[in-house]
Point group: none
DNA sequence: GTGGTCTAGACCACC
DNA sequence: GTGGTCTAGACCACG
């Protein structure tokens, strides 16, 4: 099954390289089950059109995902989630450390644009219930 | 007052340019009142040592902040929050849009490292109460 | 120390991608001690000129070596052999299997160009004594 | 005689195109006498099954061999080594140059996988005596 | 000066 | 049609 309806998007001026944003989204989709082992990823060409980025940029993201062992590519037919691909498992301690690190950057960026902590919490809570 | 005890940090491999991370943190500190008009910022030298970053990088951040009118630099004595510096005011609609955009990127990055929405919400809530 | 005198070369029409040939050569240099931990690699620009290939091709090779953990890159100063980089250790059995696989491809290619096994053995023996 | 028991193999991730690997092996078999003029080659279908490769890929290899004059195809009955097919004859100088070029590439690849020159020499010597 | 990212576009290998 | 490789060239971040 091709995940054609997935909400692939990138922000161009966030500072985070586009290809890394793609990697993050694929990893996130695998982590929360929207993409399952053996599923086919969008083709390089499809994603490059949808995101309006250069095909090479998508290919670069897919290449790194393959090197990381998360996906496999089959010339002539496409890219697929690796059979063994599994969401990363972190200890509670590591989760908190990582959340701390991310939130710190996240909050600084948010506040610098005039948002408050509550704006963020509210948005996240909304997303949670929407799922 | 010199904000020497503020938690200045940068992540080198986050993709967000280091100088932008510094800008974000200064803006955030101004936005939430940790830095007030007329307050002195850490010196370039102090920050470059603390963050283990090239002085040019800190200088570039301060230069852009000055161009944005948020700080003023006084040769020989340091950089100060501009008297008129005010947190940006956004309409509710803009706040929501910005929060949406930011959250989307951060959630993907969080999930790609094995974190859940709850991990993020929990961390932010904690921060809120700590203030 | 920059390994400026290393015999970096690529064959353009061998079928093996140029960037993989570069990777192989770096790995080989690490494996046999010509490159040691902390040594600096040729800069992207230097190698691109020496090999007469596009800088991106060299950069791609270095990027994969970094992802594999063999080298580290420091923006603004260059690429270095990772402190922990070590030649791969294989069991005798694996060595034989790998040698079998490589030699099979190697010999077919050699014979298809009119060379005999003896030509190959002779050349390799010569190389050995030259070291 | 059909060379059904010949060790036809391809490596998919070697970088050398699959169809070229097939060409090399046919040429090698002709060069060392395993295939003689008038001998029949494996059918496209047989080889595609044995190598687990797309029939088009086998067909492409055979087509190029025919263009090179090494084999002839007779519709309905198969492909045969051309009556005039002869191993290429190279001058000593060319042989050495070719061997040098090939060995250089293969040694880098071998060492990058942790093999030594001796591993290669040993394997080749073994092959020689097995014939 | 260093490496990193992205684009545009070409050609190739394989299904 | 699929992905893979390479080039040329621009712009950016960092020291």
């Amino acid at each position: 099954m091709i995940v054609a309806n997935a909400p692939w998007t990138v922000e161009f001026h966030s500072g985070v390289p586009v290809y890394k944003q793609i990697i993050h989204q694929v990893q996130a989709a695998i982590a929360d089950g929207r993409l399952r082992p053996e599923d086919q990823l969008p083709t390089v060409r499809a994603l490059h059109q949808q995101l309006n980025v250069n095909p090479n940029t998508v290919a670069k993201a897919y290449r790194e995902l393959e090197l990381a062992g998360l996906i496999t590519t089959q010339r002539g037919s496409g890219c697929f989630v690796a059979p063994s691909a599994e969401p990363p498992k972190l200890s509670d301690r590591d989760r908190k450390a990582k959340a701390e690190q991310l939130s710190s950057r996240y909050m600084a960026e948010a506040q610098s644009h005039g948002l408050s902590i509550d704006d963020l919490i509210q948005n996240l809570t909304q997303r949670k219930s929407h799922v």
